[in-house]
């Protein structure tokens, strides 16, 4: 059978995107729509004495100004799991009190007939504050570090194995270094947007979110309305990168405002300032790394201590040591995580939260250790290669990292690298090579899918998950096509609507691995129902044929060793007067820390289910650890006069299971690597230490990579199916590409220049 899965097909939603017809959250035509513009606090801590809205309110076209004085009361959100909805700032529901916790906090919403009027009216509002002394920098003596006991999803940010201190002390070769990463802002191209309207007591919300189901849950919770009265729709999201994984105040403010004036309201955060204060960020990290090794390069002990920031209104842990636990076979290891509360908005996950900054620090430390040992950095990684999970000795569900090292090294020309830094100079330009390991967990949770196979010979499936540019629309359709035996053009996958069966949020690189098996199971079930119908139907050419002897291709059911005998779905269903076959499938391997086998749990609580779903819930966590690995190899050219770094080439080799669509998978890896170029060389948010206010407040000050910064790319995959995670065989692709890349660039810069910059970003001033 010709397989559609695995082919590098063009995106299903591509035509909509290249013609401008794909609707994002702020682009639905809603009759009577008006505009909300939010106002932010200009102080960093204290409270509002008075908000004077009288002038603004008199302006023609202004419909209302919502402040803490007149906004509706909200209910405290429950839960902190992004999959069921996580409001980013649980102790700061918007417009509920006069207290100010950070600079840029929403304090009012002006609602007006037009955007122009709303913006102008917002400028007329006068706020009188009572200012208090704030803690606005991680180095502030008032900032008191503490050790959090829980990270995202209940994981523990602290970890310990062996006898680290003692072994470190006695190690032949020691390394101790501190690395820092600045605040990074996600800056998806689409600013956070919510459009909301009420019809009696029913609420409809178009929201730019990575978790449609979670927003529905939260809105029901926070506004105090039943879930079935809230519908959240999000067919297209203009990038998220984590910033739309948690829910931010705009998602509440729009429905509040819509109720307030009884009109549909749209709120879009402004790029300038608002996207830098009210939409999350990656926190600063200060990471101290200790390594101890013998003279042959075997690492005996390590320590990774991170300090990151959170807010006074919620707790978010950037768990930078998380990847260190699993990267190499290090018997003695301490992972320590400290948090500092600052008067800033709450940070949130950013593409590979923890792993991205963590692999920067740790993989640079590895490079430094290799130099101390006089061992090739790649060789050092091979010496400390973990064949089994160093945390608990479990087998990897599939790990082909050595193949990645080989592929990447060959692609970059690793053999051309000189061990001596700044040895490769031509004119004023220095060339250098660097590498690092990439790693990210392979997550999979729960998804439900409804699928309809129509008499006309086409099929539609739906699941409330998202496509944040990752290719969900396309890849799910590929899975459907193969499982149903239908052409790619005859299948459609729908998502982004809370009226669909629940699917995963788009976080933790889990959309594909979670939704894929449910889609496959639903499609196989529908096909099987059709086959059984044919077998039982005297008028069918397939009457009484064994199910296993029947194949389906191109919408036609046929006897495998007698192709002439068969009929189409259309013939079968129309003769039986069935307009469609309608199936549901749920696959659930959700497992919290400490729980037993996933399959047992999941099946116990379920109604007799589709056998194909059951078959695909094995994900045996007793036996395996599910983790992806890869490697980045980088070549840079540094202008010795100006200190400008140009990444010349990135060669990435990734082991992420089966590649369902090479085109979209490559795009994911390249896109993530480009995020890494930004982290390494140009991005970084600056705050005024005196006022606590952000200085780099727009895209003119906050530099993200542009066309001119692009290197040559060579992205390769091992493409080895991982049937331990699911029968689809794919692990996620969204985040692994950003891990390790920053270190690989930093290591290449060192190799080129001999300057070890331990404070990101590596801007030219640090090299001259």
């Amino acid at each position: 059978m010709s397989m559609i899965v695995g082919q590098p097909l063009d995106r299903k939603d591509g035509k909509l995107k290249v013609t401008g017809a794909a609707p994002y959250a702020g682009e639905f035509v809603v009759p009577g729509l008006v505009y909300g513009v939010t106002i932010q606090s200009t102080i960093t801590k204290g409270h509002i004495n008075n908000i004077d809205t009288t002038v603004a309110q008199k302006l023609k076209g202004v419909l209302g100004v919502m402040t803490y004085k007149n906004a509706m009361s909200l209910h405290q959100p429950t839960g902190s799991d992004p999959s069921s909805g996580k409001f980013a700032e649980k102790d700061l529901l918007p417009l509920q009190s006069e207290r100010i916790f950070y600079n840029g906090q929403h304090i009012a919403v002006v609602i007006a007939e037009t955007f122009e009027i709303a913006e102008y009216a917002a400028s007329l509002i006068k706020v009188d504050y009572n200012e208090e002394k704030s803690v606005s920098d991680i180095h502030d003596p008032e900032a008191k570090p503490y050790q959090p006991q829980q990270g995202l999803g209940g994981t523990s940010p602290q970890a310990k194995r062996g006898n680290t201190d003692e072994v470190l002390n006695n190690a032949a070769v020691k390394l101790e270094q501190t690395y820092t990463t600045p605040v990074y802002h996600h800056n998806p191209m689409e600013p956070h947007t919510t459009t909301a309207f009420w019809e009696d007591d029913e609420l409809t919300v178009y929201d730019s979110t990575q978790g449609v189901f979670g927003v529905q849950n939260l809105l029901s919770n926070v506004l105090g309305i039943p879930k079935n009265k809230v519908r959240v729709i999000s067919p297209f999201i203009g990038g998220g990168f984590g910033s739309k994984g948690f829910t931010w105040a705009n998602a509440f403010l729009a429905p509040m405002a819509a109720k307030f004036i009884n009109r549909p309201v749209k709120i879009t955060l402004a790029r300038s300032f608002q996207m830098f204060t009210c939409a999350g960020r990656r926190t600063t990290t200060i990471q101290k790394i200790n390594l101890g090794a013998d003279s042959n390069g075997k690492i005996s002990a390590g320590k990774h201590e991170t300090t990151s920031e959170t807010s006074f209104v919620d707790e978010f842990v950037e768990n930078a040591g998380v990847a260190t636990k699993i990267l190499y076979d290090i018997p003695n290891l301490d992972i320590v995580q400290n948090l500092v509360r600052l008067n800033r908005g709450t940070p949130c996950p950013t593409r590979a939260p923890g792993e991205a900054p963590g692999t920067y620090a740790f993989e640079v430390a590895m490079d430094e250790l290799a130099e101390k040992l006089n061992i090739d950095p790649l060789q050092l990684r091979l010496i400390n290669y973990a064949e089994k999970n160093p945390v608990d000795g479990k087998e990897f569900s599939g790990k082909n990292l050595k193949e990645c090292y080989e592929k990447g090294a060959a692609a970059i020309g690793w053999k051309d690298r000189s061990d001596k830094p700044s040895a490769n100079k031509q004119g004023r330009y220095l060339t250098g090579y660097g590498m690092a390991t990439a790693t990210y967990p392979a997550n999979r949770s729960k998804a439900s899918v409804r699928l309809k196979l129509y008499q006309e010979g086409n099929a539609v499936a739906a699941c409330c998950t998202q496509d944040i540019g990752t290719g969900t629309y396309t890849v799910m359709a590929q899975l459907m096509a193969d499982a149903l035996g239908l052409p790619f053009e005859k299948v459609e996958f729908k998502l982004g609507d809370s009226t669909f069966p629940q699917g995963p949020n788009s976080g933790g690189s889990q959309t594909m691995a979670t939704t894929g098996p449910a889609v496959r199971a639903a499609a196989l079930e529908a096909k099987s129902k059709a086959i059984q119908l044919a077998i039982a139907d005297k008028k069918s050419p397939l009457y009484n044929v064994e199910e296993s002897a029947i194949g389906v291709e191109n919408g036609r059911l046929y006897v495998i060793n007698n192709n002439a005998k068969g009929e189409t779905y259309t013939q079968l269903l129309s003769r039986n007067k069935m307009p469609l076959i309608d199936v549901n499938a749920t696959t659930d391997v959700t497992l919290k820390d400490g729980e037993k086998s996933a399959a047992a749990n999941a099946n116990a609580k379920k109604e007799p289910d589709n056998p194909f779903a059951k078959q695909d819930e094995k994900m045996d966590r007793e036996k395996y650890v599910f983790h992806s690995f890869g490697a980045h190899f980088v070549k840079v050219k540094v202008d010795s006069l100006t200190g400008m770094v140009k990444v010349e080439k990135i060669a990435s080799a990734m082991d992420i299971g089966k590649i369902l669509n090479e085109k979209t998978a490559k795009s994911q890896i390249m896109g993530a690597a480009i995020f890494g170029i930004g982290m390494a060389l140009m991005e970084g948010s600056v705050y005024d230490p005196n006022t606590g206010r952000i200085v780099t407040k727009d895209l003119a000050d906050y530099h993200v990579p542009v066309h001119a910064d692009m290197p040559e790319f060579d992205v390769q995959f091992t493409d080895k199916p991982d049937y331990n995670i699911s029968l689809v065989g794919a692990r996620g692709a969204g985040e692994i590409g950003i891990t390790g890349i920053t270190a690989a660039i930093a290591n290449a810069v060192y190799n080129a220049t001999g300057k070890r910059v331990r404070e990101l970003p590596i801007t030219p001033d640090k090299l001259i």
Binding site: K15, V18, G20, S272, T664, S667, M670
Partner: protein, 206 residues
């Protein structure tokens, strides 16, 4: 006509901030240089007047269709397209000329529509992403973007495509590096740059 719109873009290039720019416009408009027909009896002389009283009537061609709008004079071309005409293919990424998501073609030249007031476009021929395809027949760049997977989330895509149309027409970009340089006003946070480059090169060749 074309000359005049150019001069206003020059002012932006010389670094006026958005707010100053708004104020400058009143001067330009008051001089009737752009033959914007004002509905209000008096010419606007201060900002307050704009907000409460004045609207401007402007006629232009959007994707070859003549449109006449009565607008708040502060309305940017971008907001006129998105909010008044529901041509939402043109995106707002920053609203201050820093991202390129709002790129459209005005009289054949690529501009950031967030930096242009709609009222200054009297008589202009504006092409947006919605106007590039001929019926079902995609523009060659649209086809090439699809083929090369030159987008992910798709939010920067209309701007990238319009910008590429302008770039090819300008004819200055001969090498990869030149294309990269001259496309650098269009940010793609998803990082589809390499594939965008491939798509542009393919169309340039043909």
């Amino acid at each position: 006509m074309e000359k005049k719109s150019e001069s206003s873009t020059d002012e932006i290039k010389t670094g006026s901030t958005r707010r100053e720019f708004l104020e400058q416009v009143s001067v330009i408009t008051a001089g009737t240089a752009l033959s914007v027909s004002l509905k209000a009896a008096k010419l606007p002389t201060n900002r307050k007047f704009y907000q409460e009283e004045g609207t401007v009537e402007v006629s232009f061609f959007i994707n070859d269709k003549k449109m006449t709008l009565e607008l708040d004079p502060r309305t940017s071309l971008l907001d006129a397209l998105r909010e008044k005409l529901h041509l939402t293919g043109t995106k707002k990424g920053c609203d201050r000329g820093q991202c390129g998501a709002c790129t459209v073609l005005v009289d054949g030249k690529r501009i950031n529509s967030c930096l242009k007031l709609a009222g200054m476009c009297e008589g202009a021929h504006i092409t947006t992403i919605e106007g590039l395809a001929k019926g079902d027949q995609l523009h060659p760049l649209q086809t090439a973007f699809l083929k090369h997977d030159a987008f992910q989330c798709g939010y920067c895509t209309p701007g990238q495509i319009c910008s590429a149309v302008g770039l090819i027409k300008e004819g200055h970009a001969k090498t990869d590096d030149e294309i990269r340089e001259l496309m650098s006003g269009n940010i793609c946070r998803c990082g589809a740059y390499q594939n965008i480059l491939e798509a542009i090169k393919e169309v340039q060749k043909s």
